[in-house]
Subunit: 398 residues, 2 copies
């Protein structure tokens, strides 16, 4: 990557920039700018008219990571803006609307979604949203199949794949998700005390598991099936009574759609395992099991509906091919659920459902349950067909 100068703006510069370039606020005298980002990568601000309460969000990417100062390809900002725009066409309202993108400044000006709450926090806190399985399935069904070359032209797909080439961010996933939990070559894993031998045996020295992870890794790296979000964990999904808003697609690229699906499915096991092991709330555990079953089953249904609605080429409208194609996606989705679960337990990007557990015995039980679940999902992915199958696996381990 070439070295580029930082173009970060101050809050005052943000306000001036918006006043000068953008016709969103009627009254320009009462604007305030507050930083709302708590991420470790980018800078996020809310600009608000204190009288009218109208607001928008400004996200600026820098050439250096906010947390570590390490350089990271600034092109991720353009990818994020473009993916958001495309997803808002494919699944209107499911992502923040992008009002304006300034490529030169790597600045996205978009809808303020502060009416929505972080889904990870909500589920950790025992909240329930009746629409959730429908909303998640709907987003996956509407955004994934339509960007494949079963639907758009082969030429357009190839141009998309070229435009969304995202080597530096993919590299992070290829290491943190699909390599290091099994081959700790950068020595970045953090294993709970007392689980070292277990991790050694079940993850580091498990050749049969490595084989299956390597197949999933090869597909992530080489199968340019469709435009995916690339980082669809629960912290990238915001929710309220009306629906969801999916944010932060800066890891977007042309890859296997199962990676997005698997991330959503897999992440739902963190609140489930947490509430089971730590809080012991039977009712909420049962409601999360339902959420998982329904999310999986509705996603599968939505994928088929999306295939039927969008694939109109007669040669491709082959019943057996459709079944083969969807079955591959479903199996791989279970596989990527497994790799996501495992990396969030043993890798250095842990989820709060895991890292917040202070009791060391509970933590050990939680970690082991999740690792076991991840392994089963990876190894048995071709035998799993529906939500209930997965819950049965979980119950056999819990």
């Amino acid at each position: 990557m070439e070295k580029e100068a930082s173009k970060l703006m101050t809050k005052m510069e943000m306000i001036h920039y918006i006043i000068e370039n953008f016709d969103f606020f009627e009254n320009k005298e009462n604007l305030i700018c507050e930083e709302i980002g708590d991420g470790n990568i980018n800078y996020v601000f809310r600009v608000k008219d204190i009288n009218s309460k109208k607001s928008l969000v400004v996200k600026q990417a820098d050439v250096l990571l906010r947390s570590s100062g390490r350089p990271l390809d600034i092109y991720r900002s353009k990818i994020e803006a473009e993916v958001l725009k495309l997803e808002n066409v494919l699944s209107p309202g499911s992502v923040p609307e992008v009002f304006h993108y300034d490529e030169e400044k790597s600045l996205i000006i978009m809808e303020d979604i502060s009416d929505y709450k972080n889904l990870r926090t909500e589920l950790l806190n025992g909240k329930t949203y009746n629409h959730l399985s429908d909303s998640l399935a709907d987003f996956l069904g509407k955004t994934l199949i339509p960007m494949t070359d079963l639907v758009i032209s082969r030429e357009e797909k190839k141009k998309n794949a070229k435009k969304f080439t995202n080597p530096e961010l993919c590299d992070i996933t290829e290491d943190l998700v699909l390599t290091e939990p099994y081959y700790n070559y950068k020595n970045r894993n953090i294993i709970s005390e007392g689980l070292e031998d277990y991790v050694n045996e079940s993850l580091y020295e498990n050749d049969g598991l490595h084989l299956e992870v390597l197949k999933l890794k090869d597909k992530y790296q080489n199968y340019s099936q469709t435009l995916i979000h690339g980082d669809l964990h629960l912290g990238s999904i915001f929710v309220n009574e009306n629906g969801i808003k999916v944010i932060d697609p800066e890891f977007g690229f042309y890859g296997p759609m199962a990676y997005d699906i698997g991330n959503v499915w897999g992440n739902l096991f963190f609140p489930l395992a947490h509430h089971l092991v730590v809080k012991g709330d039977e009712n909420y555990v049962s409601s999360l099991k339902n959420l998982i079953t329904e999310t999986i089953d509705k996603t599968i249904k939505m994928l088929e509906i999306s295939f039927d609605e969008n694939v109109k080429n007669k040669f491709l409208m082959n019943q057996e091919f459709k079944e083969y194609y969807l079955k591959e996606i479903i199996s791989d989705s279970f596989g990527y659920s497994g790799t996501e679960i495992i990396r969030r337990v043993v890798g250095d990007s842990k989820v709060i459902e895991v890292s917040s557990v202070e009791d060391s015995k509970q933590r050990k039980n939680l970690d082991k349950l999740l690792i076991d679940m991840g392994i089963k999902l990876i190894l048995n992915r071709e035998l799993l067909n529906q939500g209930q199958d997965v819950i049965e696996v979980f119950e056999s381990l819990a």
Copy 2:
């Protein structure tokens, strides 16, 4: 594609260009330029010093196809030059050396390989080359595995895949090879008289075959495994007693290596079927069967050697993964052998071994034998493991 003006040069301009830009010829007074290309796409000239006999070849691509005047992405010329340069590093001497590439003029100046003869013509004429199976296996083994992200860095691979994005030429293959022989939607197929019903039943209305072709098509379109030649039929391979020279990689892109391998293997069935059905020369038929068996077996061996020599990442050096990875390549190679055989019989780009047969009964037998062989290769590709397996299939049909 944007419209571009033609930059085609006359023979005199070629000579002047070479004198002015290039220090190849010592004596510049005795140069002659003759057109040697008989292709329907590009313009190829030989520039020669009539005293010293030194010579080189100049290949110029135009924005319009030579034959039809249809536009075709001129970027193919850059791809051809870059692939030739890379292949000459990976497998030195197996392609014409590129002396100079002029991107602005889409002009490749390269080694003159007139000491070598077209392999398709040579095999049709009953010629034998003892090194041939070794040379073909060697080229495939040395050029394919080393450009995967098992060997080069993931970042370099993704940058390569982006650079070698080749939508217009891939589109030709996707239609002519992987669609139209089964779904004649452009009405370009040319079926021998008397075979219409057979083609209808066995190719156009064969859902089980369509399923398998659609899997191979999906992989061709989406699996960006390695840099492939993309058009490795016998007419792209030149041969003499010393070895082979592989030319014309303008269809190059990041795709499944099985496509290249399958093209080489599949094309060898044209001389075999031709000599069996038309000429009835038992000795040469037997020698071609040996050639096929040995080419397949040596290719498989070379792929494994190449994997062992080049894949040095410890996580990837997993014996079961290697076996899985190579088995997939071998199965798919048989599949793409089948699609290549079929498209050259029913499509409009027929091979001379087929189109030269004037006796209508012989032609019908030849066509049917090849179509049957192609279907078996596609449907049974996962059951085939070595050259002898394929010859047995052929003998059961012939």
